[in-house]
């Protein structure tokens, strides 16, 4: 059969003419809605990034700088100010604490979400309870939980700290996200791969280490991305549980209430750079895993 004949069979000429005006047209003509929605999309992206870019630019002003445009000079004054001035609070310390806390929470989130996602592949007695507790933890007002944890600590007579109670409080927020991402990842995992490993004589641990984890790797990186960034920016649940030393979002909160200089913007620039580095590492890792796979299996 010639190529022309084959395409004629695949796409009858009648429907081809109609599809030209369809919602998802494959032919050249674009419906007018395409141009309207493109505009909406561009405006949305502009509104999404525009304000953020403004404060990054404004954070590079010199000592005369204010909170609004026009730009006054160009220097790193406010960045130096941020890390040296006492009146802006303990930015350096809270920055370190937040990074360490996020790292711990990330590792815990990846491991716990993986295990829970693994369990949820099949039904088990009480799975509904676990599921709805998780959703509850996700939608419960953060400050209510924060106060609750504070009261629990008060009753059992333990002092909260960022490296103890705050970890648990943040996990109650990152884990539901992590497990939901695992659900999406697991739904594409074929049980046959696992069975094949068992048939070939692999132990349970070998199967997980050599088959399951490599296959799920991109999903696990995505869980790590959620774990790190959600912890790094978490505010309400940490508020009453971090003890006497602030994490970075708590520090920023205090600053928004008393600091009216571009050092606030400088802090915004610094923390966004950290976020972007993490996002780039994770997306880069996912892309490189996918690329390696594409090389190994050229047929698909």
């Amino acid at each position: 059969m010639s190529a022309a004949a084959r395409s004629a069979v695949a796409v009858p000429p009648v429907s081809k003419a109609v599809v030209a005006h369809a919602i998802a047209p494959r032919a050249e003509g674009r419906p007018w809605t395409f141009y309207v929605l493109s505009t909406v999309f561009v405006l949305y992206v502009l509104a999404l990034y525009g304000p953020m870019i403004c404060i990054y630019v404004l954070s590079f002003q010199d000592v005369r700088g204010g909170l609004v445009f026009p730009m006054k000079g160009l220097s790193l004054h406010w960045f130096v100010d941020l890390f040296t001035q006492v009146r802006t609070g303990d930015v350096k310390g809270s920055f370190e604490r937040s990074i360490k806390l996020a790292a711990i929470v990330t590792v815990a989130t990846v491991i716990m979400s993986f295990l829970a996602g693994w369990a949820f592949r099949r039904r088990f007695v009480g799975d509904g309870v676990v599921f709805y507790l998780m959703i509850g933890s996700l939608v419960a007002p953060g400050l209510v939980l924060s106060i609750g944890v504070g009261l629990v600590l008060h009753f059992i007579g333990v002092e909260g700290a960022w490296y103890t109670s705050a970890i648990g409080a943040q996990l109650s927020w990152t884990l539901p996200f992590g497990v939901l991402v695992m659900f999406a990842v697991m739904s594409r995992f074929d049980r046959a791969w696992e069975e094949a490993a068992y048939d070939l004589g692999a132990t349970r641990w070998q199967t997980i280490r050599l088959v399951v984890i490599p296959i799920l790797a991109p999903g696990l990186v995505a869980v790590a991305l959620f774990g790190f960034t959600l912890s790094y920016d978490e505010f309400a649940r940490t508020l009453q549980t971090a003890g006497s030393l602030n994490t970075l979002p708590l520090e920023i909160w205090t600053m928004t209430l008393n600091i009216t200089s571009p050092s606030l913007y400088a802090l915004g620039t610094v923390t966004t750079i950290v976020s972007f580095v993490i996002i780039a590492i994770c997306l880069g890792a996912i892309a490189s895993i996918q690329k390696r796979r594409a090389v190994r299996v050229p047929a698909t």
Binding site: V14, S15, V19, I23, A24, L37, V40, F41, Y44, V45, G50, P51, M52, C54, I55, L67, V68, F69, I111, M112, L115, A116, A119, F120, R122, F124, V130, F131, I135, G136, S137, A140, P141, L143, V144, L145, I147, G148, V149, L151, V152, F155, G168, L171, S172, V179, T229, D233, F235, A236, P249, I252, W253, T256, L257, Y265, G268, T272, S275, F276
Partner: protein, 287 residues
């Protein structure tokens, strides 16, 4: 499933439960208990059961106002984030022909989600302020003679900040739901003579309903539970349920804060349950 399989499954969810029980179940129960206690005025609790905290909440006109204001912000945020989120997701799924480009644009929308919410909120200040970009531009063009006051530290800026932060929670689930719609259904409908409005009304909307519900749960529960955005962006002009609760904690009035927290949690739970009636969330998420 065999007994062994059951035990194994529970073993796998044990770490999750070891977080949820002390950091979700226990705090909620303790808050519930504390709401029936009395305060000694110095941050301590007197375990003498009373309904006083609740009667104060329900007899206070302030409570009604707080809820009215918070619910108003919730509805406005929900509406705008739904409209924007729906059309952005629709554009990405049905108008972008190149799947790689669609994923790229989708990521472009999601990147800010992974950066600090607080910073994204304050980034509106240089734009909306009295001497901000928008006022300066409008003054220069001559549309207005004096700066618009309502742009910043007002209900307007609160809604702007919320929509800016939360539209992503609409885009992701709606995008997922729409991406699962078989394009052949749309073509079949076109062949059968359906108009574009019919396709939207009878195919796209029903099939993305679950995504909309999921996004709504996120937006509603986050706005109802927030006090941060409303405090900073309203410039103190607006109060919220959680804001009032936080002030109670600030003056160590734990029992009244707890009672107010219980009422709020019930209201949020009812709202979420209402949304859940329209969709089987578990089927949607584990599929």
């Amino acid at each position: 499933m065999s007994g062994r399989g059951q035990i194994l499954s529970w073993l796998y969810v044990t770490p999750l439960m070891l977080v949820l029980i002390p950091f979700f179940v226990a705090p909620i129960l303790v808050v519930l208990a504390a709401s029936f206690f009395q305060s000694d005025g110095f941050g301590g609790l007197i375990a003498d059961p009373t309904f006083q905290n609740y009667t104060e909440i329900f007899s206070s006109k302030l409570t009604a106002n707080l809820y009215a204001e918070t619910i108003e912000f919730t509805i406005l945020t929900w509406l705008f984030s739904l409209i924007i989120g729906f059309w952005v997701a629709y554009f990405l799924v049905f108008h972008i022909r190149n799947p790689l480009l669609a994923i790229g644009l989708f990521l472009l929308c999601t990147v800010p989600f992974w950066t600090s919410n607080i910073i994204r909120m304050i980034s509106w200040i240089p734009l909306l302020g009295k001497e901000g970009l928008i006022n300066t531009a409008l003054l220069r063009v001559g549309v207005i003679n004096e700066p618009l006051e309502f742009l910043l530290f007002s209900g307007f800026s609160v809604v702007v900040a919320y929509v800016h932060q939360l539209t992503i929670f609409m885009i992701v689930p709606i995008f997922n739901a729409m991406a699962r719609i078989d394009k052949r259904i749309v073509e079949a409908a076109l062949d059968a003579g359906a108009s574009r409005l019919d396709i939207m009304r009878m195919i796209i909307l029903p099939l993305s309903k679950n995504g909309i519900a999921l996004g709504s749960i996120f937006v509603v529960s986050i706005v109802m539970g927030d006090f941060f955005v409303i405090k900073v962006m309203s410039g103190g002009g607006s109060a919220s349920v959680v804001g009032a609760l936080y002030e109670d904690v600030g003056v160590l009035q734990y029992p009244s804060a707890a009672a107010s927290a219980v009422v709020l949690t019930i209201v949020v739970t009812l709202l979420v349950a209402l949304i859940l009636r329209t969709v089987d969330i578990r089927k949607e998420l584990t599929r």
